[in-house]
C-alpha cells in the first residue's frame, strides 16, 4: 500500500509542476522508479491509475510512462563501484522493508563488497522521481 502514497505524491507533484510551468492540459507524465526502493511496478501502475483524479481537467488527457533506473553504488573509501546484486541486500523481510520505505537505510545493511566499508554513495536508482511533465497551455 506504500505504492499508493508514492502514487499520490507523484500526482500532487505533477500538478504542482504543471501549474508552475503554465501547463493547463498535461499530455505526458514520466515517472522514474529507482531499483533500490524495490517498488512493485504493477502495484505502482495500478496505484497511479487509481489516484489520478480524472475529474481534474489538467489530467484528463494525461498519459503515464514509467522508466526504471538500475541502482548503483560507489564506495567512498576504496572507490569501488557496485550494483544491487553485489550489494547483497538481504531479502529478509526486515531489511527489504526498511529500504523500501527509507532507501537510505541501506546504509544499515549494505557494505562495500570490496573493502566492507559502510561509507558508500547511492549514485543512481534510489527511489521514485518525477522525471518530466509535458502539456500545453
Amino acid at each position: 500500500m506504500h505504492e499508493f502514497a508514492l502514487a499520490q505524491a507523484v500526482i500532487d507533484a505533477a500538478l504542482q509542476a504543471a501549474e508552475q510551468a503554465g501547463i493547463r492540459h498535461i499530455s505526458k507524465i514520466v515517472v522514474g522508479i529507482g531499483e533500490l526502493q524495490q517498488i512493485e511496478r504493477e502495484s505502482f501502475e495500478f496505484a497511479l491509475r487509481e489516484v489520478m483524479p480524472r475529474s481534474e481537467p489538467a489530467l484528463a488527457q494525461a498519459e503515464l510512462f514509467i522508466e526504471t533506473e538500475a541502482a548503483s553504488f560507489r564506495c567512498r573509501l576504496c572507490e569501488h563501484g557496485f550494483d544491487l546484486a553485489t550489494a547483497r541486500l538481504s531479502h529478509a523481510d526486515d531489511e527489504a522493508e526498511a529500504v523500501h520505505f527509507i532507501p537510505e537505510l541501506a546504509h544499515a545493511f549494505v557494505r562495500c563488497p570490496r573493502c566492507q566499508s559502510p561509507d558508500f554513495e547511492v549514485v543512481a536508482g534510489r527511489g521514485v522521481t518525477l522525471q518530466s511533465v509535458e502539456g500545453d497551455s
Binding site: Q20, I23, P103, F109, L130, V133
Partner: protein, 253 residues
C-alpha cells in the same frame, strides 16, 4: 501541440508532507544544541505526561543515527503497519515513530544529504492519526535536521533544553540565534538536570527574551526507570514536566 516540457522538478515527496500532518494540531520539537543535555529523556517523558493528561500524543525520534526513545520508553519490537504509507504503532497512548523500528541494533551511518533524505522520507510516509501534539526529538547540533525541520515544518514550535552550565548556555545562545533567524516559533527554555537553584537558565531565558518553562531536577532514579513507563511516570522528571506552566505550554491551541 506540446508547448511546455518541464523536467527540473522539485522533490515529489515534499508536496505530501503537510497532508500527512494535517490531523496534527501542534508540533513541538525538543532541541538543545549540545549532546547529553537530556533531549531524548525530556521528549520521551513529555510525550508520556501529555498522553497521561488525555492529549492525543505522538513521538517522532528524529535523531536518525542515534535513536534512543524506544529504549527510554521500552518500545523495542513495536513496528508500524503499512496502509497508504506507514501507520505508527500506538503504545502507552503514544503514536511512535523511529528509524529504530527498521534498523534494530544495526548502526546506520549517514552523511548530511542522507540524513535529509531520511527525514523527508519519514515525514512523507508516516500517516499520523489525529493528534493534539506531536513531540519531535531532535538530534544535537545545528545541522541538517534543524535546517530541514525549519524548511519542511515551519509551524513546529521549539522547546529548548538547557542546563546551568556556561558551556551549555553558550550553545543554547547559538541555537536560539539560529531559530530566530529561521523565524520559527520558540515555545520556551526548559532547564534540565537542575541541581541547585542557581537561576542561571531562568536569567538566560530573560536575556534571550524567551519564556522560561521550568526546571527539571537531576534525578538519580531516572536510569533505573529507563524502559519502564510506570516507573518513568513516577520520576522527579515526570513530576517536574507535569508542573510546566499551563499558560505557557500546555494550553490547547
Amino acid at each position: 501541440m506540446i508547448s511546455h516540457i518541464t523536467n527540473r522538478l522539485s522533490d515529489l515527496r515534499l508536496a505530501g508532507i503537510e497532508r500527512r500532518l494535517r490531523q496534527v494540531r501542534r508540533i513541538v520539537a525538543v532541541t538543545g544544541g549540545k549532546g547529553g543535555i537530556g533531549k531524548s529523556s525530556i521528549a520521551s517523558v513529555l510525550a508520556l505526561v501529555m498522553a497521561e493528561r488525555g492529549w492525543r500524543t505522538g513521538l517522532l525520534d528524529l535523531d536518525v543515527t542515534a535513536p534512543t526513545d524506544h529504549v527510554i520508553l521500552g518500545l523495542d519490537g513495536c513496528r508500524p503497519t503499512e496502509e497508504f504509507g506507514l501507520q505508527p504503532p500506538e503504545v502507552h497512548g503514544i503514536q511512535f515513530m523511529s528509524v529504530s523500528q527498521f534498523t534494530g541494533e544495526h548502526p546506520a551511518p549517514l552523511r548530511g544529504a542522507d540524513v535529509t533524505n531520511v527525514i523527508i522520507e519519514l515525514l512523507a510516509v508516516t500517516c499520523w492519526r489525529e493528534l493534539d501534539m506531536l513531540v519531535i526529538d531532535m538530534p544535537p547540533g545545528l545541522g541538517d535536521a534543524s535546517l530541514d525541520m525549519a524548511r519542511l515544518l515551519p509551524r513546529a514550535e521549539y522547546l529548548v533544553v538547557a542546563g546551568a552550565s556556561r558551556i551549555v548556555l553558550e550553545t543554547v545562545r547559538r541555537t536560539l540565534g539560529l531559530l530566530a533567524e529561521l523565524r520559527v516559533p520558540i515555545a520556551g527554555i526548559l532547564e534540565n538536570m537542575a541541581q541547585e537553584q542557581s537561576g542561571a537558565v531562568e536569567h538566560a531565558a530573560r536575556q534571550f527574551g524567551v519564556p522560561f518553562l521550568g526546571a527539571v531536577p537531576f534525578d538519580l532514579h531516572l536510569e533505573d526507570a529507563t524502559g519502564d513507563v510506570v516507573r518513568l511516570s513516577r520520576t522527579a522528571v515526570a513530576q517536574a514536566l507535569r508542573r510546566v506552566r499551563e499558560d505557557l505550554f500546555f494550553k490547547q491551541r
